[in-house]
């Protein structure tokens, strides 16, 4: 697996690199914890389908709700709509016991994309990233080498990584090193 990656990796300047790691635009983020009723109300407030299935994300435009656990979701929105998301969620959840914590600046997002994106991630993450086992729309908290990340497959050859800010240099450096020819 690793041989394929190194053998096929062209020069850094090439447009056909097997996997590219790049930062994604800034976003607003929240961790929502609560019952199934809380999750249903939150999804409705954000006009997104309720992610009832484990390890699945629902997304539309810049907004997304990622299943992290049976009682925990990561809510992502555009950089400018943090206040709007807070208002929508607070209004929808006012009568339901829940915890809503803004974590906008705790983590930053990267995209790993290219025909060998899964292999590059697998250099430091033991999850089975075959499309049949980790399809588009699947997301999970997991481990990349020594850093905890949230991994979300947004397209067959594209993953979004949510990385805690202080781990980002480590994660990017590790992936660049792993993909080096």
């Amino acid at each position: 697996m690793h041989d394929t990656l190194t053998a096929q990796r062209p020069s850094a300047a090439s447009m056909s690199a097997p996997a590219i790691v790049k930062p994604l635009p800034a976003a607003s983020r929240f961790i929502l914890q609560g019952s199934a009723a809380v999750m249903a109300a939150a999804a409705a407030a954000l006009a997104l389908p309720d992610t009832k299935l484990a390890c699945r994300a629902s997304a539309h435009g810049e907004r997304a709700i990622l299943w992290l656990g049976p009682y925990e979701r990561l809510v992502i929105g555009g950089e400018a709509e943090g206040a709007e998301l807070t208002r929508l969620l607070a209004a929808a959840l006012v009568d339901l016991p829940h915890s809503l914590v803004e974590v906008t600046d705790r983590q930053i997002a990267f995209e790993v994309t290219g025909p060998h994106a899964a292999e590059l991630l697998n250099s430091a993450c033991p999850l089975d990233l075959d499309l049949s086992q980790f399809p588009v729309g699947m997301c999970t908290r997991t481990i990349l080498a020594k850093a905890e990340i949230v991994l979300w497959r947004t397209a067959p050859e594209t993953f979004r990584l949510e990385v805690w800010r202080s781990f980002s240099a480590y994660v990017v450096g590790l992936l660049e090193e792993a993909g080096r020819a």
């Binding site: 484990a54 656990g69 049976p70 999850l127 999970t140 908290r141 997991t142 481990i143």
Partner: protein, 99 residues
């Protein structure tokens, strides 16, 4: 690497999990009513099974939930995993039928 089946997430690599000690240990309802020996028994004394052992695990770097597993302490094989608060599976319901 072992694969451990989280009751919520399915089969996942061992390094996402943390061990949490023996399962099904009920905290005494009235600790103040216990003498020192009974309290020490609750706090410190655990089974040392050779074979099937019910224990707590936490999918720390996944869904972050605690759950229970029956593990064969001889082979390290996980024979069953189940949600916290549900009873230990009968021997016939374990992987391999009995342990």
């Amino acid at each position: 690497m072992l694969l451990i089946t989280c009751p919520y997430c399915g089969p996942r690599p061992e390094l996402e999990f943390a061990y949490g000690g023996q399962a099904h240990i009920a905290r005494p309802q009235q600790p103040a009513d216990l003498n020192d020996d009974a309290w020490a028994e609750h706090l410190y004394m655990r089974d040392n099974a050779k074979g099937a052992h019910a224990e707590r695990w936490r999918h720390t770097h996944g869904c972050a939930r605690f759950f229970n597993a029956v593990r064969d302490t001889g082979s390290d094989r996980i024979l069953a995993t189940y949600e916290t608060g549900t009873p230990r599976p009968a021997a016939g319901d374990l992987v391999g039928g009995a342990a």
